[in-house]
């Protein structure tokens, strides 16, 4: 309960109550962190791009790291929101009769999120390796929750006879790999190529289902 409320807090509070300057700072940091990495970015550079004085940054964020967290924390939360908040966003719930349909819905939903949060997402995956606290936080609060939810889901579809008898974690890993593989290539490595998203997702889900689906 409390945790979910924490999450809600983060989700609802972020992007609100922000001074215009604060907004500018966040935007500038977002852009530069994503491009050059946290360590290689100087606060003076952020200040310049944000059009504020150097001191102003530290009025709103006690330290440079604080600024990083102000970007990463809400992004983490939003990234996994659909998997955690069961009553709010029903898009990904077990309403779907088929694992296939669930996958499609999930990919579309998260792809939409990615599209609007590319920079923040980049920062998230680029910085996590360098900040043990972030890594820990990610594992404990994020990865495991999503993983558990997925376990339930996969088991659910297994019982329905839609997924073959492989260890659940293997199924999850395979599914996740295929999905992330597509999303990363699509949005990070070759974002400027022309993509027929619908068809690509279709094929991806198709291969996944072939890979782990039970013969009907």
């Amino acid at each position: 309960m409390t945790e979910q409320n924490d999450m809600l807090d983060i989700l609802l509070n972020s992007d609100e109550k922000l001074t215009e300057k604060q907004q500018k700072i966040l935007e500038a940091a977002l852009e530069i962190f994503a491009k050059k990495g946290y360590s290689a970015t100087s606060t003076s550079e952020i200040a310049k791009k944000a059009g504020v004085a150097e001191g102003t940054i530290f009025r709103h964020y006690k330290t440079k790291k604080d600024l990083l967290l102000s970007i990463i924390a809400p992004t983490m939360a939003k990234l996994i929101a659909p998997f955690v908040m069961r009553d709010i966003n029903k898009v990904l719930n077990t309403k779907h009769e088929k694992y296939e349909d669930f996958l499609k819905a999930m990919i579309l939903n998260r792809q939409a999120f990615l599209r609007e949060n590319m920079s923040a997402f980049r920062i998230l995956i680029q910085e996590i390796p360098f900040h043990p606290e972030l890594k820990e936080q990610f594992k404990e609060h994020i990865a495991e929750k999503v993983f558990h939810r997925f376990q339930h889901l996969v088991n659910f579809y297994k019982e329905k006879g839609q997924i073959i008898e492989l260890p659940t974690e293997v199924v999850i890993r395979f599914t996740a790999s295929s999905v992330f593989g597509y999303l990363l290539i699509r949005h990070i490595f070759l974002p400027e190529a022309k993509w027929d998203d619908e068809k690509e997702i279709e094929m991806t889900v198709h291969m996944i289902m072939n890979g782990i689906g039970a013969q009907e």
Copy 2:
């Protein structure tokens, strides 16, 4: 020819002709770069860990970036070596009757490499996003070569009727995602877990083959 010789040069020259101190420097840099990232690592820290004077680093590597490249360049080369040097390493060649067998051989081969070059590999994937020249170099010299080789391979097995009629790049993406997904989780995210590699690879290849294999 020349390109292959370049590659050979890099592969054979590296790790040789190195002063003892130089070796120490490389090892120290390798370790710290991997853990904290290039930008967050100071040359004084490297010097201390290597047990040399800070000036000594710059006798061997003109700049800090030079030191980074001295680690990354050979790693890139070795990483893709089996895909590029057709006559030397036959492990991955089309001698394999089945795509399945090829996949297994490749995974085992590259997994062995990863095991011995984890730190360098981490640095490679962690730093590429922050260094446009590296990114470019990676795309042009590395990714495309490997990709082309894979195209030939996949087409070869397609003609043999072992792979279903999906766009070649989709097949490659799917295969690569599944394989990298396994390797990353296995070696980067959860390296300390106990893994039955043989079985995991077995299952991974199995799922891939289900996903894209033609029904016999």
Copy 3:
């Protein structure tokens, strides 16, 4: 016009709008550069003498060279100011009936300047040989302008029959050599000797006039 305004800008802006610390830095740099030369002077030494943190220097002057230029540029400008700004400073204009009078006025005027800007002048002549851009700037923007003005002046007095028929540039070189010779020995080589400036200038001008003056 524009050029004259540039010059005016430099002349009027310099020494104004300066922080107290900035002023201190300039003074310290001035003194040490003059004594030890630009290259042999360290920024830490300047900081210490100026009583500021070393970082403060670089807040005001992007580089050490910048600091040098902040000293040299205005000095160059002021040095030749009377020769360039015809309407402002009439001291050296052709109001003088005789070349002799013009010379005396000029020497006195520039000697006063030198007295108050010895260090900067030293730096100017000591550093120009080592900085090609300065040399170029000096030649193009300074030397030529002054030279042209002198050509007009000498021609003017030639037409008046006060100067014998030698090539104008030879007359200028001779005059300049004699004047600079006096000023350098007086202020640079033997500044601590006792000088009767009025008499020395009298004799110098006398010799110059004998050297190039027409017999009346």
Copy 4:
């Protein structure tokens, strides 16, 4: 006596007994010191240009400063040689009936020297201001000797009635200024211009003689 022998030593020893490497080092240092100044020149740069190892420099010259002195000391000596060694080089002796002839001979003689020792001469005048010992050495051992010799000369011609009644030091300063003025412009400031040396010297001497010569 001893002093003259010292001088002789320097003159005769220099350029002899030099290893090939040593010669190379001297040449390299000469060139770079002249261009960039002593302080801004690194020993490694000299080593590179000389084609020797860094250590080799310090085998021959205990310190970098030693290397500088090895260039400057003989140059100083040679520069004033004709004024000091009365019996060896008679070119500039009082054999000349007229001050005018003496001047011409002297200018030609020293101009020849300058032409062959430009770099060393540049270093001499560029570095003296920054090295108090050099300045002292120059004043005591060089300037004064030459000055005294000149005093005798000027007095000699004064007595002959060839020079007007001005203080001897004024005459010397005026003569020296005119001569150096010519030589500096000719060889340092505008060396690439086309010069009719004979005519220029003619005019220069002419002006000097007008300036200080007695009417016959």
